[in-house]
Symmetry: C2
Subunit: 201 residues, 2 copies
């Protein structure tokens, strides 16, 4: 299984933004929509072996975390365009407004769950069953990594992870790189998926 964990520093935690201007009003939920597209979609196909954690830390009620579970998501739930994926995120955030529990997940649609889990919570949960990699331009080249079993990739948004996040990940996640340039999160996910396909894993 492939797991992508995306920490979104400013993504709004309430559906108080406009679909007409996602970059300007939502704390860059457009970036998360393209990341979902890259994680799950093939040409006329869907990757069931993928899980995505979107960890939203913007105003007004951080954190909110949405888990997309490829094996449970029904066909045609995830369409390729940003706007329709943004509508799924809005649906999840609306369901999340009522949640008080710090750890319990609530199902929004089959395979889509919302919670108050923190970035650290997600990492600790994932550690139990997968090897963690933090994607960073200064990491070890991905071609030199020996991938086995469940693989989890941690990615930042346009701002990137904080020094505190990086300190937390220090002995937990191996820093790996797909190249020396700094790429858009959605491009990194597309590249990693195709790279792993070619390894046959």
């Amino acid at each position: 299984m492939r797991i992508f964990i995306i920490k979104a520093n400013h993504a709004h935690t309430k559906a108080d933004f406009s679909l007409k201007d996602l970059p300007g009003t939502s704390g860059r939920i457009d970036l998360l929509c393209r990341s979902i597209n890259s994680a799950f979609l093939l040409s006329h196909g869907f990757r069931k072996n993928v899980r995505v954690w979107l960890n939203l830390n913007g105003p007004p009620n951080p954190p909110k975390t949405i888990r997309f579970e490829g094996s449970e998501i029904r066909p045609k739930t995830i369409n390729p365009d940003e706007r329709s994926i943004a509508k799924l995120i809005i649906k999840a955030l609306k369901a999340g407004e009522r949640i008080k529990d710090p750890s319990k997940e609530h199902q929004v649609l089959p395979g889509i769950h919302i919670s108050n889990l923190t970035f650290e919570d997600i990492i600790r949960k994932t550690l139990k069953t997968a090897k963690l990699y933090y994607l960073h331009e200064e990491g070890k080249p991905i071609a030199e990594v020996n991938f086995k079993g469940n693989i989890a990739f941690i990615l930042g948004d346009h701002v990137g992870l904080s020094d505190e996040d990086e300190a937390f990940l220090e002995n937990i996640a191996e820093k790996i790189s797909i190249g020396r340039k700094s790429y858009l999160t959605s491009h990194v996910i597309a590249y990693v998926n195709i790279f792993l396909d070619n390894l046959g894993i």
Copy 2:
């Protein structure tokens, strides 16, 4: 220089579609928007060494062709989100309504040009200065290709190229592949860009 030529079979050739439903009303201009994002954008950066030809062949006045010239496009013209890129395409299509000449390009914005050029016209123009590759899952693995000079990649949309297009390209473009699966056009472009970055070309 890297050149991406995308043949969009059904993409509308007039701005008669809705930004609220690009996949359903525009003949999949959403796909072209994500392709522009993948072709040009880096995290906090822009690829000036890229040219993209969008060849639109949908109703009502096919073909319309939009050329995006990375070296001429001004900063902040291309934003990452689909909606703002769709607005650039709308602007180009509106400017294109008046065009009668079959070959002359008209500038819409610095680095963005509209014309009535056909797919074959674009290929013939590009052949003069670049080596052509047709991206197809059954092609030769990209890792075995010896890239040199200007490189042009031909890609289909969700429908793919027709038998006639493939026959036309037979002795003109080498068929190469980034993997055996069929990937979204925008993912292929993201992968190819990162792959070429890593070759240092």
